[in-house]
């Protein structure tokens, strides 16, 4: 078209004698007659195809009145269907357009083998379907809000829970490593099965009676060694293990719950090699002093470890001393030694480490037996410590002397926000002293004194002070947002008063 229109122009230009008006007029007139000539030609070239469709359509309508164009799926739709059907053999996803990808993903079956899907599909919707299909209860927030992470973490946990050393092929788990290495941040395994021994019942009875043969027994009851798996998971941050058996029922045996020395050593090596680990929990696993020390020694100077939870074990003073050493050789933020057998010396060593520590913010010594000596040492340590915010000393046989010292700490310390002294024998006088200490404190938000023989009056007054502190903290949290804070802050305090 354009060629035909432009051709007359050069001829007009080549004639310089003509006036400009003439030129334009000829140009226009030249182009006008051409256009109608061209358009029919283009129209003529089309008819064969359009005429055909017309013809066919009409015939089909005549034969089958129910047939309609709408029912015939689009080619893309057909392709997508095909892709979905053959996804296992020929996974095509990345090459598709985004909307087609979405369609494919929404139709894929959650039963597809992980070898195909693991590193190919990132879509949360697909993994959500996978999760909901496998588990009735899904709490995504625990897994960093990612369904994919949740799927892989729980899948791996499942495998580990049902792994029986000696009978199950280790490749079952190790094969998973390349698939899930990028998606597992957290491993929460609450049971490790011991190896199965066929002639177990008679022997087990004999050996359970004689403790002297425990060593021999241990070597045969080793659990799965996590070393290879953890080394493969490059983003592992949280490790939560329980060396025990769930739902054993009437098959109970003591050695089902054995955390052997070999297990301990291999675990220690594993956590030492895992440099991304931030949270390590080993609970309800009968960890005694020696094992705790082995574990803690491997955790010394760990670059990123923040939380250590060894609650519900059998750790005594020596283990506590090891933990105290760890406090000064790492950046630990949370230490949980609840329900162990820590006594006064262990608490004293912990207090010594705490006095100069600048990273620990939470210490839990619930259900130990540190008594007044340990309590006093901890209170002294809190005079110099400027970091600890949460302290749990519930059920530690504490009494008045500790309370008096803690009251002094309360009046000076400005970092503590939560103290738990429940289930102790503070006594009436101790309660009064704590109340005095509370009167000077403006930062404490929680102070648990239940069942600690404190007078109801002082407990109530302490509660009032806590309420005021809480209100102030709430206002403080609102402050940066509201510039009217002084007025609003006054209101509630007056009403409370």
């Amino acid at each position: 078209m354009q060629d035909t229109v432009t051709t007359p122009q050069p001829s007009a230009v080549s004639r310089p004698s003509l006036s400009t008006q003439d030129k334009t007029s000829t140009g226009i007139t030249g182009s006008q007659p051409w256009k109608p000539m061209v358009t029919p030609a283009s129209v003529k070239s089309k008819p064969p195809t359009s005429g055909n469709s017309f013809y066919r359509m009409r015939r089909i309508i005549a034969e089958d009145p129910e047939w309609s164009l709408a029912i015939v799926p689009l080619l893309t739709e057909l392709c997508i269907q095909h892709i979905v059907r053959n996804f296992q053999n020929n996974p095509i996803l990345k090459q598709l357009l985004p909307e087609h990808q979405q369609k494919v993903l929404s139709r894929l079956s959650p039963d597809l083998p992980l070898t195909v899907t693991a590193n190919l599909i990132d879509d949360e919707g697909y993994w959500r379907r996978c999760c909901t299909q496998r588990w009735p209860v899904c709490y995504v927030a625990q897994h960093g809000g990612s369904w994919k992470h949740m799927f892989f973490e729980r899948h791996l946990e499942n495998l580990l829970k049902h792994f029986i050393p000696g009978t199950t092929d280790p490749a079952v788990i190790l094969d998973m490593v390349p698939l899930c290495r990028n998606y597992v941040r957290r491993l929460h395994v609450d049971q490790f099965l011991p190896p199965v021994r066929l002639p177990s019942p008679p022997r087990a009875v004999d050996q359970s009676d004689s403790g002297s043969e425990g060593e021999v027994e241990e070597s045969t009851t080793d659990h799965y060694q996590l070393g290879d798996l953890v080394a493969g998971l490059s983003y592992l941050e949280e490790l939560d293990l329980v060396y025990g058996v769930k739902d054993c029922g009437m098959n109970f045996e003591w050695n089902l719950f054995l955390f052997t020395y070999r297990d301990c050593h291999s675990l220690a090596a594993t956590i030492k090699a895992c440099l991304t680990l931030k949270i390590f929990r080993l609970t309800r696993s009968k960890v005694d002093d020696d094992k705790a020390r082995i574990l803690i020694r491997s955790l010394l100077d760990h670059p990123v470890l923040e939380e250590l939870d060894l609650s519900h074990n059998l750790i005594g003073d020596r283990g506590a001393r090891g933990a105290a050493k760890l406090l000064s050789h790492s950046r630990l933020r949370v230490l949980n030694l609840a329900n162990n057998q820590v006594r006064a010396p262990g608490a004293q060593s912990l207090a010594h480490a705490l006095a100069h520590n600048t990273s620990l913010i939470s210490l839990n010594l619930r259900l130990n037996c540190i008594e007044d000596e340990g309590g006093q040492a901890l209170a002294h340590a809190l005079h110099t410590n400027k970091c600890l915010t949460t302290l749990h000393l519930g059920g530690n046989e504490l009494s008045e002397p500790t309370a008096t010292l803690l009251a002094q700490v309360l009046s000076t310390n400005t970092t503590l926000t939560s103290i738990n002294l429940s289930c102790n024998h503070i006594g009436l006088d101790g309660g009064k002293q704590l109340l005095e200490g509370m009167s000077d404190n403006k930062t404490l938000l929680e102070f648990d004194l239940r069942l600690s023989d404190v007078a109801q009056e002082s407990e109530y007054l302490i509660g009032q002070a806590l309420n005021a502190n809480r209100e102030a903290a709430r206002q403080r949290a609102l402050n940066p947002i509201q510039f009217m804070s002084p007025i609003t802050a006054d209101g509630p305090e007056n009403s409370a008063g």
Binding site: G394, G395, S422, C423, E471, S495
Partner: protein, 675 residues
């Protein structure tokens, strides 16, 4: 509303407390259990230990009895003992069994306890669940209530807002309607107006349009004409430009050709430049080498020059000597000639003229050696001399020399010395203090000498003349008669006299010189002559001292300074003019030489020469006469001799035999001419 958050917080807190109460209760129970357990454990252990002890005792007793039993021989006793032993053993076993059963009982109770605890725990868990559910329900309820309240309040607010807004809206709508109507009326009115206006405008526009059309058509025609013209000019311009373009193209070609030529030239010139540069570099090197060689040459030349100078000095000395020798030779010759002339003159006078001859007396005839300017002695030298005189008074020979005055006539050496001593004493302030300290250890005379030297340098007295001027001034100042300027002429006269007298006395003093020279400081060879001449001066002076009348009273010491001041004021002016005069002295020397030699030529005065000339002519004439006479005499003699010879020959001829033999004898021939 402000209390709601608190209420909710309280609800939550209470709920959690309620829920955690169970945990706390369990904890306390656990603790209590632990405590009890510990207590029981302790008791049990104690009990077991006690049991162990007692059973051990019993066992020991039994074992002891076994020993006892071994010693028993009587079977009855043995049987009894065995029985008792059996009983004991049974008791022991019974105790143990009892203990075991007790422990088993305890275990059973513990099992029951465990079951109970399990039940309790399950109850607790149930309770916990219940409470949690209750809590959840409660919280849900309250939150829902709260939400409901909020919604209600919101609804009410919304309703109010709605009604308010509706009212407002209606009001605004009414106002709007009224306004709309008004606007409509206005608009209709306006539209009518505009229509009328439009019609008017249309008619007017039509007219105007026609007019403009005509005008524009005219304009179009004019413009077309202009366009044609423009086209023509355009054509013209185009042709011109084309022509120009051609020309420029040509020029461009030319310029490219020229450019290439220029480039070639540049290349060529560059080559030349490079050549020149290399040449230049070469030349620089060459010139440097040359320069080095030249500097070497120069050094050598300087050395040569120095050597030459040395040689020159040497030659100057030698020349001086030669000059002197030649001078002496010439002088001797001249004197010889003069003496011959004098002898001749005397002969002429005495022999020929018969007059008495007196020898002319000329001073310069007595001069021996070249005339040379006596160098002016420095003031210090003079002073030194003066001082030396006084010291050497003893040594002074009583030389009877002619009256020679070194100083002006009225000043004697002694007065000079006195004046100098006075000056030295009075004007000590002119000497530097350092010098004074240095002078202390020296001898008196030396001390005076150095002091005077310093004073003279301070006063600006340099030459001998100055010194004498000073002395003169002192004397005259005291006299008050003469002006300062008059001191000059006598001084000059004295110098001339000195030179003349010294020449005359040269010969006589030669012997004494040598002895005196030793005492003085050795000076350069050039000065030696002057020194030689000085030696007589002293002696003359000393002689003068004795002869001259005692000098008049010396100037009073107090006036010395005034006198000095006046002297300095007066003398400074003439001295300034003196500097440049010194140079032409050498020429003066030459003129004196020539005068000397001229004087030598005029030893014979012209009158005498005239006389000699006249005498010479007269004598010549006389000589001529005498020679003529002598010649004549000689001729005469020769003729006489010829004659005699001829006679003798004739005789001979005549006497010879040949004559006879001859046909014609010569005698006849002879006789014929003679005839």
């Amino acid at each position: 509303m402000t209390t709601v958050p608190q209420k909710l917080a309280k609800l939550l807190l209470c709920g959690t407390e309620l829920v955690t109460n169970i945990q706390v209760a369990t904890d306390t129970r656990e603790i209590n259990r632990r405590v009890e357990e510990e207590e029981i454990k302790r008791q049990r252990i104690e009990k077991l230990e006690n049991e162990v002890k007692t059973s051990q005792d019993k066992f020991d007793e039994i074992t002891a009895k076994w020993e006892e039993g071994k010693q028993k021989k009587i079977p009855q006793d043995l049987w009894e003992m065995l029985n008792s032993q059996q009983l004991h053993c049974a008791g022991l076993i019974e105790d143990k069994n009892k203990l075991i059963s007790e422990l088993q009982q305890e275990l059973k109770t513990k099992d029951d306890q465990y079951v109970k605890d399990l039940k309790r725990q399950s109850d607790d868990i149930c309770l916990l669940l219940e409470r949690m559910e209750e809590q959840v329900k409660n919280v849900m309820k309250t939150f829902r209530q709260e939400l409901h309240h909020i919604e209600k309040a919101f609804e009410v607010e919304r309703q109010e807002l709605l009604t308010n807004n509706k009212k407002k809206w209606e009001r605004a709508l009414q106002a709007h309607n009224a306004k709309e109507l008004e606007y409509l009326m206005n608009r209709i009115k306006k539209v009518e107006d505009y229509e009328r206006e439009l019609n008017r405008q249309r008619i007017w526009d039509c007219e105007e349009y026609n007019m403009i059309k005509i005008k524009l058509e005219q304009d179009v025609q004019i413009l077309e004409q202009q366009l044609q013209q423009m086209k023509a000019t355009y054509q013209l311009n185009q042709e011109k430009l084309e022509y120009n373009f051609q020309v420029l193209k040509k020029r461009d070609e030319e310029s490219t050709v020229i450019k290439s030529q220029q480039k070639r030239r540049i290349n060529r010139l560059n080559d030349v430049l490079n050549n020149l540069r290399s040449k230049y570099a070469k030349q620089i090197k060459q010139f440097q080498e040359e320069n080095q060689s030249l500097t070497l040459d120069y050094k050598r030349l300087v050395m040569q020059f120095k050597e030459l100078q040395k040689a020159m000095r040497h030659f100057a000395l030698i020349d001086e000597k030669k000059f002197r020798e030649i001078w002496l030779m010439n002088e001797d010759e001249a004197k010889d000639l003069i003496s011959r002339a004098f002898a001749v003159d005397r002969i002429i006078h005495t022999h020929h003229l018969g007059l008495p001859w007196t020898e002319p007396d000329f001073l310069f005839l007595k001069n021996v050696g070249p005339l040379s300017q006596q160098p002016q002695k420095s003031a210090t030298q003079v002073v030194e001399e003066v001082l030396m005189q006084t010291e050497d008074e003893v040594e002074e020979a009583a030389s009877d020399l002619a009256s020679y005055l070194d100083l002006p006539k009225q000043v004697s050496a002694k007065t000079t010395k006195k004046i100098l001593m006075l000056l030295c004493d009075e004007s000590g302030f002119l000497i530097e203090s350092k010098l004074l300290s240095l002078l202390l250890p020296l001898e008196k005379s030396e001390c005076y000498l150095l002091r005077l030297d310093a004073i003279f340098s301070a006063l600006g007295i340099e030459s001998e003349d100055d010194l004498y001027k000073l002395v003169n001034f002192f004397i005259k100042y005291r006299a008050h008669h003469l002006s300062i300027s008059q001191a000059k002429p006598p001084l000059q006269a004295s110098v001339q006299q000195l030179s003349v007298v010294s020449e005359q006395e040269m010969d006589m003093l030669e012997e004494e010189e040598e002895t005196l020279v030793k005492d003085r400081e050795q000076e350069e060879s050039l000065v030696e002559e002057g020194e030689q001449e000085e030696s007589p001066v002293e002696q003359v002076e000393q002689e003068e001292e004795k002869e001259s009348p005692p000098s008049p009273n010396l100037i009073h010491p107090n006036d010395v300074l005034k006198t000095l001041e006046a002297f300095v004021m007066g003398v400074n002016k003439p001295r300034e003019l003196r500097g440049p005069v010194r140079v032409p002295k050498v020429e003066c020397n030459d003129s004196k030489d020539s005068e000397y030699w001229l004087a030598l030529t005029t030893v014979i005065p012209p009158t005498k020469q005239n006389l000699w000339d006249a005498f010479y002519t007269a004598l010549q004439k006389y000589h001529l006469v005498l020679t003529q006479r002598a010649k004549l005499l000689m001729e005469n003699e020769a003729l006489e001799q010829q004659n005699t010879e001829l006679q003798m020959l004739l005789q001979q001829y005549l006497d010879s035999k040949i004559n006879s033999e001859l046909q014609v004898p010569p005698t006849q021939v002879f006789r014929m001419p003679t005839k």
